[in-house]
């Protein structure tokens, strides 16, 4: 399998190309939101209640081009809120996947390389955690942290709590995958050779084994990215994620959901649509990557 194989498989799938373009677009817009966004929705000094509850411009004659997707009841621009919110959602997702990957890869390498009791302990913990759905683990971690610290402190560290919560609930897959690959790799000649010349286990694991298990890890990471976005949105929607002072997409959906029944649908529908588009695009990419990297499917 060469790079050009992957490129060819990418090019020949219009769906994947669309998904990739969509992902890049959303990510780029989100991370450039301080430059691109027409308003700074979370600086209270820029808000005016007289702009409150404006409908989207294309739907209603009451709309205002300053606020193309309308405003919420505090006069916040929905478009800008979504841009900032997407950025926050992505930051949380990427950070938590990074946390999960770090923990998972480290434990997987240790487990697979050393085997024996270490392996048994780590894998049994992983088994136990697998029986809990990720969202429940995240809720649990968040709940414990909440009781440990005061409310005002919580808003400040909410971002770290949620990254930690999602990260800790996702590590198992990485650990298992890496362990499996390590078990295959560690009996190969190049590892034996490394052992013979007296390299330390750490160097062998990181320099020699790790590069050969990155493929599957990359696939899981991509798929997990979408899942992390969803998990974060779910937690925020349930009110245990990010506070309304720094709203992610999930928080925006929750805030809009409060007024959904009164007809102000745009406050929740646009963040919802953005979330759906983002997750769909990332998942399509992940699916393609899994197929492309799996020789059995070709």
């Amino acid at each position: 399998m060469t790079d050009s194989d992957i490129w060819w498989s990418f090019k020949s799938s219009p769906l994947t190309v669309t998904a990739a373009v969509a992902t890049i677009l959303i990510v780029a817009i989100a991370f450039l939101s301080p430059v691109l966004a027409p308003h700074t929705p979370f600086d209270p000094a820029t808000l005016s209640l007289s702009d409150g509850l404006k409908p989207p411009v294309l739907i209603s004659p009451d709309g205002d081009w300053t606020f193309p997707l309308g405003t919420d009841d505090q006069g916040r621009d929905i478009l800008s809120s979504i841009m900032y919110g997407t950025r926050l959602s992505l930051v949380v997702a990427i950070a938590s996947v990074a946390v999960a990957m770090t923990i998972g890869i480290a434990l997987g390498l240790i487990s697979g390389y050393f085997g024996g009791a270490v392996d048994a302990v780590i894998m049994r913990i992983a088994d136990v955690q697998l029986t809990f759905p990720a969202i429940l683990v995240a809720l649990l971690i968040d709940g414990v942290v909440r009781t440990l610290i005061s409310v005002q402190r919580h808003d400040e560290i909410a971002l770290f709590v949620i990254v930690g919560a999602i990260g800790l609930s996702f590590w198992v897959q990485y650990a298992r995958t890496v362990r499996g690959s390590v078990l295959v790799e560690k009996n190969k000649e190049y590892v034996q050779a490394a052992k013979v010349i007296g390299l330390s286990p750490l160097v062998i694991m990181v320099r020699h084994v790790l590069p050969n298990v990155t493929g599957p890890v990359l696939v899981i990471a991509t798929i997990n990215l979408g899942l992390a976005v969803i998990t974060e949105a779910t937690l925020s929607f349930l009110g245990v994620g990010l506070p309304s002072t720094q709203p992610s997409l999930g928080t925006l959906i929750r805030l809009g959901n409060d007024v959904l029944q009164s007809g102000d649908w745009w406050i929740t529908v646009f963040p919802g649509a953005t979330l759906a588009a983002l997750v769909l695009a990332v998942n399509l990419l992940g699916d393609w990557l899994r197929d492309a990297l799996n020789p059995k499917l070709r």
């Binding site: 209270p44 505090q74 969202i135 798929i223 349930l238 007024v259 029944q261």
Partner: protein, 538 residues
């Protein structure tokens, strides 16, 4: 791994499960919801309408209010004054507590002293009381320090507890909620009232059943009442529409219209006698939560004026409250005795430059930073109002760090200690007050605006410690003045003092919006009390 999505659904279903209780064999179960839970089952735990009205279903007062809010006999059959400083209450005979013990004058004396004692938050109702004495088993006498014609009105919100029950369960003193204390009476209740507490799970649900030995003839036809706190407004409204609950209050303004269009729902509306306002800490020499050190900006009237005149209550009414608010500039609502229509005019709004100039004159050319306390489940759209205030004040350089939290935590942070009268931890806060005990402006003067003093029990809810000697004198004079013309003149003068001082920032009266299923009949009093004894389910 997409399994977790399915679990998310399961989790949501789990959260809703508490709402959709299995239908009882008997259909007269009444299920209702509010945004927050009752803070305590102890009727003296907090001078908060919701807590008082909830516990009043289990406990009876000496005198109660009828549907027109007039006093009528409850545990006392007759009451009155034998001389200007002595009240008597003749107690109903043959009344039993729901545990079977007879109700006597001992219970009344015990209850009043408990409500007036340490740990109680309702002790502001006893500022004039000198002593309560048992005359015989069915008569008590109350002496007051000054003539108090409104004593019976104030006591209509004081529930009577059982002495024996409280002593047996070591709940002789109310647990002090300001210190987050708890005792037996926090989670249990036993009174003479129309309902009995069957099950109490704080934050989850509270179940009441009718008291078969109630002394009065029930007007309700309920066999069980299930109360569930549901913080999320949309969930609450959806539950009502789906028939999972029979009633909810208060309904968020945003949902009123859609509910009116629903043929299965009845919407009840009216202005509430409560004024929602903002208060400042004007007592400390340095604010607890501010970047200004060594002085307190709120002690400067120019700062208070700049803030007052930068808050656009009409904009709040239009967007946040969707028209369902009545902006005001005084601390009492229309309809309360002592309301002064000519003083109820807000001064013109200031342009940001003008407000900044006032702040600069006061020594804050670059504004300042201050923490603000708000509930998020107590008043209609409370946290959203506070958010709007944050953005209005940001424009004049005052950076407000908003902390909106559930009513229990919020009250415990802002209310003064009822034991030593010391101020709590707030610098800038929202509060709502309805003089629903007397329907007279003096209640607001005494509890909210007079200088706090634990000895005289004045100003106990003056959380920020606003103090004006002249006002105090006038308020004390209003309390004992019987000549209406003179009294009104003094009320006017006192009102002008606090309005001109920018003592508080009155925002509005909220509209009272309740919603029920079509088959439910109930009474909606203007004081936002909700007595279950008038609920019938068809």
């Amino acid at each position: 791994m997409f399994v977790s999505l399915r679990h998310t659904v399961a989790l949501t279903a789990l959260a809703c499960a508490s709402l959709s209780m299995a239908p009882m064999a008997n259909a007269k179960t009444f299920k209702w919801a509010n945004s927050g839970d009752v803070s305590s089952m102890d009727p003296y735990a907090r001078q908060e309408t919701f807590l008082l009205t909830f516990t009043a279903n289990i406990y009876d007062p000496l005198v109660r209010r009828n549907k027109e809010l007039k006093l009528e006999p409850a545990l006392a059959t007759k009451w009155g004054q034998t001389n200007p400083t002595t009240w008597f209450f003749d107690l109903r005979e043959g009344v039993k507590f729901s545990d079977g013990t007879p109700f006597t004058a001992d219970d009344v004396v015990f209850s009043i002293n408990r409500a007036n004692g340490p740990g109680s938050n309702v002790n502001g109702n006893f500022s004039t009381m000198k002593e309560i004495k048992k005359v015989n088993d069915h008569r008590v006498e109350v002496t007051t320090t000054v003539p108090d014609p409104l004593l019976a009105d104030k006591w209509a919100s004081i529930s009577i507890m059982s002495k024996a029950w409280a002593e047996k369960n070591s709940a002789v003193q109310p647990a002090d909620m300001v210190k987050n204390e708890e005792n037996f009476a926090t989670r249990n209740a036993m009174g003479t009232g129309p309902f009995m507490l069957k099950e109490r799970r704080a934050g989850e649900k509270t179940i009441l059943v009718p008291n078969p030995t109630w002394w009065d003839k029930p007007e309700h036809n309920l066999t069980e009442v299930i109360f569930t706190p549901v913080p999320n407004a949309a969930t609450r409204i959806a539950a009502l529409k789906a028939g999972d609950i029979d009633m909810t209050y208060e309904v968020p303004p945003a949902d009123t219209d859609s509910l009116k269009k629903d043929a299965n729902i009845k919407v009840l509306e009216g202005p509430e006698t409560r004024v929602v306002f903002l208060g400042f800490d004007q007592e400390r020499d340095e604010l607890v939560e501010s970047n200004v050190k060594g002085k307190n900006p709120f002690k400067d009237k120019r700062v208070r004026e700049a803030i007052h005149r930068s808050i656009d209550v009409d904009a709040i009414k239009r967007t946040v409250m969707r028209g369902q608010a009545f902006p005001t500039n005084v601390m009492v609502a229309k309809g309360i005795n002592g309301y002064t229509p000519d003083l109820d005019k807000r001064p013109a709004l200031l342009k940001p430059e003008e407000a900044k100039k006032l702040l600069a004159d006061a020594g804050y050319p670059n504004g300042f930073e201050v923490g603000m306390d708000c509930p998020n489940d107590r008043y209609v759209n409370d946290d959203k109002i506070c958010q709007a205030v944050v953005s209005m004040l940001a424009k004049i350089g005052v950076k407000v760090n908003l902390r909106a939290q559930t009513r229990n935590l919020y009250f415990a942070k802002i209310l003064r200690s009822t034991q030593d009268g010391k101020p709590n931890n707030t610098s800038f806060y929202m509060l709502g007050w309805s003089p629903a005990t007397t329907y007279d402006v003096h209640n607001v003067f005494e509890q909210i605006i007079q200088t706090p003093d634990i000895k005289t029990k004045k100003g106990l809810f003056n959380a920020g410690g606003y103090s004006n000697k002249k006002f105090d004198e006038l308020a004390n004079a209003v309390e004992v003045e019987t000549d209406k013309a003179k009294r009104d003149a003094m009320i006017r003068e006192a009102t002008k003092i606090y309005v001109d001082d920018y003592a508080y920032v009155p925002l509005h009266q909220q509209a009272l919006v309740w919603a029920t299923r079509k088959n439910v009949d109930l009474v909606q009093p203007a004081d936002n009390n909700f007595p279950l004894r008038w609920v019938t389910v068809k």
